[in-house]
């Protein structure tokens, strides 16, 4: 939903564009044979190419390009048969080449869009301007020594996709939703693992403010936000800073800023007078990237089902609500688990179990679905016991909690604890007789016309049976006996 900022002189709107850097899933780096594995010993995954040694030549890893093409297709972009690698020149200790190989004027993918789901249940289409492929830089660590920085080049040369949106986003919440949605698409496509803690997904945000319906204002870029929470906060504080400047009669200077998490402010980056002078030029070591149309078509034909299609299928074929379908497809693993648990069963019932019980317990335990002690087959077995009437829905929740705790199967727990539902009319009738004998006064009141006591009797009988009596049988038999 669009949000506004209440200034001293009136209302302002947000205009937000995002540049998402997504680390490509590949074994080797974009232009070298070194590994992309996260968490290796410092500088263990570095080839002389990644270290910028003189005379080393980059040789492209086409698997990285295939991943970029897949991603481009997943966001409905146009894959360019001809694109060019350029050098983006700047000096920094974690950039040993002195330039980053990137794509400037001719990216591999142009255009595209993705649909974001809004809080009011609607959707909004956010335009994507381009997707280009580039090298990542190394990593500087500043906290290991008071007087020096330490550089690890393991990330240097790893393939990245930079995905640039149009300034279409209208609130911090929409920006957060866009990043979550893009992350979901990347994970479905299998082109980026989306792990923000490990830096596989990093966000730069362009923020400007304007009067409602007015022309776009001057923007500032805030770099390197590595969580959705910080993204949202950075946008809020930057927009209110800009409103403050503008309302005081000042002007916004286009610049790159950093978000200071501790102080909750943005501040200009050092050396900004030199920013944006990257002196791009085509990399003479790399001829243009030419893609065969048939190769692109083969990739298009092998695309996996994407989240929007899966959500639509869950609603259409399984009769799930938009909300439930959305919750299930947000993480591919969750949707896979659900489909496995629901296979051959009541789809809505299975969705309820996965969303309320399983996700509830997983949240409490701080685990992902892949770490669930209750597998999809085990949950399916429990759902079958409920569907067959072997146990009641209420008992099933207890059984599920025990399954989650012990990892045992549903049927085993039901047998072990003697939880099988009692449907036998004789046994239930005996429980009812006992209750009616103890509560003779209330039985008299009921028969005298106080019929709202019925619920009380049901409760007493259920309690006497330890929750195992079949509720429908209890109702039927109780009504007959009380009426008599």
């Amino acid at each position: 939903m669009a949000a506004t900022i209440e200034g001293a002189t009136g209302v302002w709107e947000y205009a937000i564009g995002l540049e998402v850097h997504a680390q490509i899933v590949s074994n080797a780096k974009l232009f070298s044979g070194a590994s992309t594995a996260f968490g290796a010993e410092p500088n263990a995954n570095v080839s002389p190419i990644d270290a910028g040694m003189p005379g080393m030549l980059p040789v492209i890893n086409m698997a990285c390009i295939e991943q970029a093409v897949k991603t481009g297709l997943a966001i409905d972009g146009a894959v360019n048969a001809h694109s060019v690698f350029d050098r983006k020149n700047y000096f920094y200790p974690d950039l040993p080449q002195g330039y980053q190989i990137s794509q400037y004027k001719q990216p591999v993918v142009s255009g595209g869009h993705l649909e974001i789901e809004l809080e009011d249940g609607g959707t909004r289409r956010i335009g994507v301007e381009r997707l280009h492929v580039e090298q990542d830089a190394g990593k500087s660590l500043h906290d290991r020594d008071p007087s020096s920085s330490h550089v690890d080049l393991n990330r240097s040369g790893v393939g990245l996709m930079e995905i640039v949106s149009h300034p279409d986003l209208r609130s911090p919440e929409e920006a957060a939703t866009y990043v979550r949605k893009l992350r979901t698409i990347l994970r479905y496509a299998g082109t980026c693992d989306g792990n923000m803690q490990e830096g596989s997904l990093r966000v730069d945000v362009n923020v400007s403010v304007r009067r409602p319906g007015g022309a776009l204002g001057v923007r500032c870029e805030i770099k390197n936000l590595n969580s959705i929470r910080f993204l949202r906060r950075a946008i809020e504080v930057e927009a209110s800073r800009q409103v403050g400047v503008l309302e005081a009669g000042g002007e916004i200077e286009q610049e790159t800023r950093l978000f200071d998490v501790g102080r909750n402010v943005t501040r200009p980056m050092r050396g900004k007078e030199e920013a944006h002078d990257y002196r791009y030029f085509p990399d003479p070591d790399l001829p243009p990237l030419r893609l065969d149309r048939a190769w692109i078509d083969r990739i298009a034909a092998s695309m996996p089902e994407l989240p929007d299609a899966r959500r639509a299928r869950f609603m259409r074929d399984y009769g799930l609500s938009a909300y439930d379908a959305g919750v299930l497809v947000a993480e591919k693993e969750n949707a896979d688990f659900y489909e496995a648990a629901a296979e051959g069963r009541d789809k809505k019932l299975a969705a309820n179990w996965v969303i309320s019980e399983l996700f509830g317990q997983l949240n409490k335990a701080g685990r992902t679905v892949d770490e669930s002690p209750v597998g999809a087959a085990a949950l399916g077995e429990l759902i079958d016991l409920v569907a067959d009437g072997a146990i009641s829905g209420r008992i099933a929740k207890d059984v599920f909690a025990w399954m989650f705790e012990t990892g045992k199967g549903a049927a085993a727990i039901v047998e072990e604890k003697g939880l099988r539902q009692v449907t036998d009319a004789g046994a239930i009738g005996a429980e009812i007789d006992g209750v009616m004998e103890r509560e003779a006064a209330k039985v008299a009141e009921y028969r005298a016309g106080k019929h709202k006591l019925f619920g009380f009797f049901v409760g007493q009988v259920m309690r006497a049976s330890g929750g195992k009596a079949n509720p429908k049988a209890v109702n039927d038999i109780l009504r007959a006996k009380l009426g008599g």
């Binding site: 590949s26 074994n27 080797a28 070298s32 044979g33 070194a34 590994s35 010993e41 410092p42 500088n43 263990a44 995954n45 570095v46 080839s47 002389p48 190419i49 270290a51 040694m53 040789v59 492209i60 890893n61 086409m62 698997a63 990285c64 060019v84 020149n89 000096f91 920094y92 200790p93 500087s140 660590l141 500043h142 290991r144 020594d145 007087s147 020096s148 920085s149 330490h150 550089v151 690890d152 080049l153 050092r270 030199e274 002078d277 002196r279 085509p282 003479p284 790399l286 001829p287 243009p288 990237l289 030419r290």
Partner: protein, 95 residues
């Protein structure tokens, strides 16, 4: 096309090359000469010519997505003026 000394100073700073006043004066003349020389290309009609990307027309070479390099942290680190515990050590880059 002539470059003034301020532009030379800016280019030198972007390239992290220290220059003196006398050098900048000389370089302004030399670089302007080079640019003038290259600018002669502007006289040629290239309307129907595709931009050239290299002296020899050749396809982009590619590699398989397999790990064939790395595992030489010590060799990499030894190229730095200073290194410690596998890291390259550089002057502090943040305040």
């Amino acid at each position: 096309m002539s470059l003034d000394e301020a532009t030379v100073a800016r280019i030198a700073r972007l390239a992290r090359i220290a220059t003196t006043d006398e050098e900048r004066e000389r370089l302004a003349g030399e670089l302007s000469g080079i640019l003038d020389w290259v600018e002669q290309l502007g006289d040629v009609d290239t309307e129907s010519v595709e931009p050239m990307t290299g002296a020899i027309e050749m396809p982009l070479k590619s590699r398989e997505d397999t790990v064939t390099d790395g595992g030489v942290a010590e060799d990499i680190a030894r190229n730095a003026p200073r290194y410690a515990q596998g890291f390259l050590v550089v002057p502090k880059t943040v305040e």
